[in-house]
Symmetry: C2
Subunit: 453 residues, 2 copies
């Protein structure tokens, strides 16, 4: 039995808020002056109902029935066991994965996209702006806005826009408008284009453009939507881990020994892992591993500091692991992992000693992805391959140790929009790459004078 | 509840053979001389174990456990109810669909691909050749060969090869080799290229190349594999309809009033409908509708005649609805429906009065596909949109009639590899097109002297 389904009636009816359970409370966002941020400063960017979730420390937050009805399109998502990969690896480990690739846009992103769209609509908002890296988030928000009935405008990081032109078509199918970022549509975009006409772009730049777009709309009916990093995004994604727990219980499986998710801004990792971090805080023995690219090693090499969430410095300062807000990652194919920072809640969990981050080179990740396709069959997103590489590594370790470990990872999305990267890998065009130490040092200079933690 | 799952243990353990149940037996393949074909003539093309299935008139044929274990990767496939589309249409009809898009290659095609690969492997074959239109079948066979352990070489119709370059990457991921057809790799390909260097290609031409490749391999360890048309292919696909029946029974739903599938060579249509045709033969009142493009109207406008399955005339003569084996369909985006003929079993069911074929223009189909994406969420294959257009039409009719009809269609594949067609549709570049009568007449001249039925 390799597919474990949950019925709609057994779907979680509350999200889990990890902020309620840390031993030491996470640091709050501050301004450059060092003063704490008050919720009203965010009002022009986000609707108040989402800001309330952002700052909430309630452990459980109800999921409105109308949102559940939207989620039923693809949720509950199956929990699957990778029996064919296990057989191939000859491992005593049991490898489970939560299949988030079955949502219409093909990733975990709609778990929060439809929620954010719904709350914005309820608040009277008519249009959402956002950024997107690999395109997963842009597709997800476009889809969500189509379902809920909002306009949608997406700034897509240029390198991904060029590598994955069909992502734009997907967004168009759901009625969204997609521009390559930096674009000429915002003053920040024009500034960057003037300074660095050949820039591949970055998530930080695209975020700045989307925020500027929302702030400069005179109707006041436009807000910005972020696909990761923020607390309320992590919150919405916890439905993944909550479902997984129910599904493991359904088949009488023990608590996993190892929980894995790839981490760019942190949302798919948080979605799966936060409910298990809760168990860990309460004494369970679980190794919880966020995986990231060696090209963008935020958790493994970035310091824990106050930094901007975007490149232009329009966001408050967030306490997080960061490579510096000016950092432009190498154009690796896992576009969703090309972010300079990390969700404050994930960062805080690292400082609390709850997580064991690891970084993987993209060549090793594509090798893992190919092993996956030729055993399990499906084609994973390049981001997801960073989780698979780790799952394979842990399964091989379990084999060496002769232990029947339970490994759980998040299959965050399919790679059908990312075949160009596979093509290059198969042609031997991809090289191993690790961020040079001097580049990191230089990038961190930008935050040298920022308030210290 | 919009997802109806079946457990692995309830999966059908036998395929259903419609050939056993016709009132009048279907016509057998013959040679150009009019003499019936004996199985041994096929031996250089197919392995004997599949030839036995091809000519079998047994009603039920066992599915080997090893094949079930391969199918478990994505089967049983969910039966889904299109509740969001129903709501949008305000129809009293209930619209169910079998979701065949969840297989690793994204369509129903692997249902027979893994079976054919398995039987070939068992017979000692080392390599399979095939053709592909839209690329669904090429991906499916490449995937199947990867799982079973065979080499795989695919001739892809040039128009689709150009429109969907990433299909080739998919085939490569699973280790398959993909060439644009007509190619320089076969003498028939070279001949066509010389005569019509700018031809968009056709399934007929690609079939001829793949057969030539298999026949000219001196090791004798290469066979050809066909993704549609033949009886054994229809047989393997009946798992779709058999599962659907179990799933409808599971929720206490009545026999559908209307069963719909798009039809190119006939395999996804047959897969869903044959078990219901059995019911119809036994007295059930069911309207069963194969849908096809107005650009390639095989069932609605092609005569029932003996004709070649390919363009070069390497196959026996099959009794089928045909537009003539030289017919080159207009380059519509539903590449999988661009075939001059139709499965003999499907064709025979039409002549027996069991089916009511309809044709749809591609513009109407894309409109239906867009309605689908903006209600149900997912993006369907252009082929599948021909079934959706009909399901919507029937749901609207049910609304006018005020009848709570049960509609069941086959969601044969996703459209994530076909976004270029959507892009063109959204840009208003697609035109309505119906095959001109004079073109049909001219194309049929090629079979004027063939043996008559």
């Amino acid at each position: 039995m390799n597919k474990i389904y949950l019925s709609e009636k057994d779907m979680p009816r509350q999200w889990y808020n990890l902020a309620a359970d840390f031993k030491n409370p996470p640091r709050l966002p501050i301004g450059l002056d060092g003063n704490p941020l008050t919720p009203d400063k965010l009002e022009r960017i986000f609707p108040m109902n989402l800001i309330e979730q952002e700052v909430s420390t309630k452990r459980w937050i109800d999921i409105p029935q109308e949102i559940l009805s939207i989620l039923y399109r693809w949720r509950p998502a199956p929990l699957r066991r990778a029996v064919y990969l296990e057989e191939h690896l000859k491992t005593p480990a049991k490898i489970y994965y939560k299949d988030e690739s079955l949502s219409p846009p093909g990733s975990h992103k709609p778990n929060t996209a439809v929620v954010q769209a719904w709350y914005n609509k309820k608040f009277g908002i008519e249009k959402l702006t956002t950024e997107t890296g690999a395109g997963q988030w842009g597709c997800a928000l476009s889809f969500a806005c189509s379902i809920v009935g909002l306009e949608c405008k997406i700034y897509m990081v240029r390198i991904s826009f060029d590598q994955k032109p069909l992502r734009k078509s997907m967004m168009n199918i759901w009625g969204g408008q997609c521009l390559a970022s930096p674009s000429k549509a915002t003053s920040f975009g024009r500034k960057i284009l003037k300074e660095q006409p050949d820039t591949p772009g970055s998530l930080g730049i695209a975020i700045s453009e989307a925020i500027e777009d929302a702030l400069t709309d005179s109707s006041g009916k436009t807000r910005y939507s972020l696909g990761s990093v923020l607390n309320h995004v992590m919150l919405h994604q916890t439905i993944i881990g909550l479902e997984a727990k129910k599904q493991l219980a359904l088949i009488g499986e023990k608590t996993p020994d190892i929980v894995i998710g790839c981490a760019g801004g942190g949302s798919n990792f948080a979605g799966l892992s936060f409910p298990f971090i809760c168990d860990k805080i309460n004494g369970a023995k679980i190794t919880i591993i966020p995986t990231e690219p060696t090209a963008c090693p935020t958790l493994t090499r970035g310091p824990f500091r106050y930094d901007f969430g975007d490149t232009a410095g329009q966001t408050p300062l967030l306490a997080m692991h960061t490579l510096g807000h000016n950092f432009v990652p190498a154009p690796i194919h896992a576009g969703g992992l090309r972010y300079h920072g990390m969700a404050p809640l994930v960062s805080h969990a690292v400082t609390e000693g709850l997580l064991q981050p690891r970084s993987y080179d993209q060549v090793k990740c594509y090798q893992a992805a190919l092993t996956w396709s030729r055993t399990e069959g499906t084609i994973c997103a390049p981001e997801t391959s960073h989780a698979i590489a780790c799952a394979i590594e842990e399964a091989q370790k379990a084999k060496r140790e002769g232990k029947e470990k339970v490994i759980l990872f998040n299959y965050s999305g399919h790679g059908l929009m990312d075949l160009l990267g596979y093509e290059k890998f198969l042609n031997g065009e991809l090289k191993e790459y690790s961020l040079p130490e001097e580049d990191l040092k230089k990038s961190l200079e930008a935050i040298a004078d920022f308030p210290k933690l």
